[in-house]
């Protein structure tokens, strides 16, 4: 199990909270704050887990996920999507694109951490 996470998120206070939690848990956190260039950021960072927001400036998280699953990243790269849009159709869309875990905002810190750990170890996420 590696220990790097790429966080793709544009809300500064959520970034600060998630980064603090992950770093305290021993993860190295890299950051990308917009939709544009997110796929390239994944390729450059080569993370063990991607935490991806849905609504990002420039490009939606769904589009980014689809491109990652179309070969822009290793097929088994765990991607956890975070979204304020918790409707069933959004979850279904994410699953159809091959998401590994899906959490709706607001989420609990413990669940988010457990889900990242599960995904990094190749287990089905227990927290989402």
């Amino acid at each position: 199990m590696g220990n790097s996470v790429l966080l793709i998120e544009d809300e500064p206070n959520i970034i600060e909270a998630i980064s603090f939690l992950l770093e305290r848990d021993g993860w190295t956190v890299r950051l990308h704050t917009e939709g544009v260039g997110a796929v390239e950021a994944v390729a450059a960072a080569n993370p063990d887990v991607v935490v991806l927001d849905v609504m990002l400036p420039g490009r939606s998280g769904f589009d980014i996920l689809r491109e990652l699953r179309q070969g822009a990243a290793p097929a088994d790269l765990p991607v956890l999507m975070l979204t304020a849009r918790g409707q069933t159709k959004d979850r279904e869309l994410a699953e159809s694109y091959g998401v590994s875990g899906f959490m709706t905002k607001p989420f609990s810190n413990a669940e988010m951490l457990q889900t990242v750990r599960d995904l990094a170890e190749g287990r089905p996420p227990s927290g989402s």
Partner: protein, 431 residues
């Protein structure tokens, strides 16, 4: 009864429905009972004067008897019958129903139309809530702020020995996000208010009348120029008055407007209002009218840069708002109970006693509030008097004396430590 039914059968049917004896109807029509019997069994033709006479006795018109019920009503009833397939209706007897009970049939059609309209509204609202981009964006902001607050506050609670710099940053983040949450909530509340007005139309006649006046800035040029004679045209042209009850209520209010305009014609009243410093008591004395008339007339003066903002609120003895003209700088609630600190409600406690009070709205504007409560209608020893109160708001400059601090309604009032608060505010509060 099929639509092809004959005139005689309709006469018989209606006569029986009215509980009228054949002999009595015959006598009223000036024919013998046996001749009427032949007509009713379609063995004699009937038309002309005799049909008109029988129709009058049967309290209907000759066309209904000769041609059957109104086709439009029948078609509308058939459409109503198709709504809600679970209930069996005697569709083949629709014409008989319309002929026997025209009022009930019309009511059923009216309610069918109303149900269809409400269903359309519901579909529209559902569609709006699902696809409204503004709502979607605001909801995203709310959930984003809540997520940040939840995560950050959990970190603070779960990490008692957190570094002081981090603690300070997280406190600042919570403060930022809670402000964002308050602002977004207020914006959502305002958006919902607009949605309700745009999509649902007006649920009560009172709302429809209020919307009519709001749209025209509470000044109706047509009535100022043509008086009572303009009312029919205004009612016909207004989109707000879809229901008969709204139209009826609007007629009453517009007639009162016309009476006020006749008693206090615009030009001389405008001149004296300016000369007397917009003092309603002085104006009532100058023109020899009661205070309520002056209040209403002042509220219908057109907006002008040289004239102070003027608002008006009236309520009944239960405190229910009957009329609201909000002046700029003072939001008056559209729904729900108003601020109990308004001098309007103090006036209710002392009917007949005029009150003048300097107030400051939660938006920070100053107004002189003139209030008075009076009995409505004829007094009687045997009935509880109906009391109504009115509060005229005339914009004032920053005062030397301390004003009474008032709000709109608790939900959107930011005042903190208010002894009169009934429920929490959705806005960030101020002292």
């Amino acid at each position: 009864m099929p639509r092809t039914v004959l005139t005689g059968s309709r006469i018989r049917d209606r006569r029986l429905a009215m509980g009228l004896k054949q002999a009595d109807l015959a006598a009223q029509a000036g024919i013998s009972a046996s001749y009427l019997n032949l007509i009713e069994h379609n063995r004699r033709r009937i038309g002309g004067k005799l049909l008109v006479q029988i129709a009058a006795s049967l309290q209907t018109d000759a066309t209904t008897l000769s041609q059957g019920a109104d086709t439009a009503t029948l078609e509308a009833l058939e459409a109503v019958a198709e709504q809600g397939a679970d209930t069996h209706v005697e569709a083949d007897r629709a014409e008989e129903f319309v002929a026997r009970f025209p009022g009930w049939a019309a009511k059923l059609v009216e309610q069918g139309d109303r149900i269809e309209g409400l269903e359309q509204t519901l579909r529209g609202l559902n569609d709006r809530l699902t696809h409204d981009p503004v709502l979607s964006e605001k909801m995203h902001d709310v959930l984003g702020a809540v997520a940040a607050i939840r995560s950050t506050s959990s970190i603070l609670v779960e990490t008692p020995n957190i570094d002081a710099d981090w603690r300070a940053r997280f406190h600042a983040n919570i403060d930022t996000e809670s402000r964002r949450l308050a602002d977004t909530s207020a914006a959502m509340a305002a958006h919902f208010d607009r949605l309700t007005r745009d999509d649902t139309g007006f649920t009560t006649p009172l709302e429809a009348v209020a919307a009519f006046f709001e749209l025209r800035g509470f000044h109706i040029d047509e009535i100022e120029q043509h008086g009572e004679g303009a009312i029919d045209g205004l009612l016909d042209a207004a989109a707000e008055f879809k229901s008969r009850s709204a139209r009826r209520m609007a007629r009453i209010v517009l007639s009162l407007y016309a009476e006020d305009a006749k008693a206090l014609p615009l030009e001389p009243f405008t001149r004296s209002a300016s000369a007397l410093g917009y003092d309603p008591a002085a104006l009532a004395a100058r023109h020899g009218v009661d205070m309520h008339t002056v209040f209403r007339r002042m509220a219908t003066l057109p907006r002008h840069p040289d004239r102070p903002e003027i608002g008006l609120v009236t309520c009944d003895a239960a405190g229910a708002i009957l009329l609201r003209k909000p002046p700029s700088g003072f939001s008056l609630p559209r729904f729900g109970a108003a601020c109990p600190l308004w001098p309007l409600f103090a006036a209710l406690r002392s009917p007949g006693m005029p009150m003048r009070q300097l107030i400051q709205s939660s938006e920070g504007s100053y107004f002189t509030a003139f209030s008075i409560a009076s009995p409505v209608g004829q007094s009687s020893f045997d009935a509880v008097p109906v009391i109504r109160a009115a509060m005229l708001l005339v914009a004032a400059d920053a005062p030397a004396e301390e004003p009474v601090l008032v709000g709109s309604t608790c939900r959107v009032c930011p005042r903190r430590n208010c002894a009169a608060r009934r429920e929490p505010s959705i806005l960030s509060q101020k002292g």
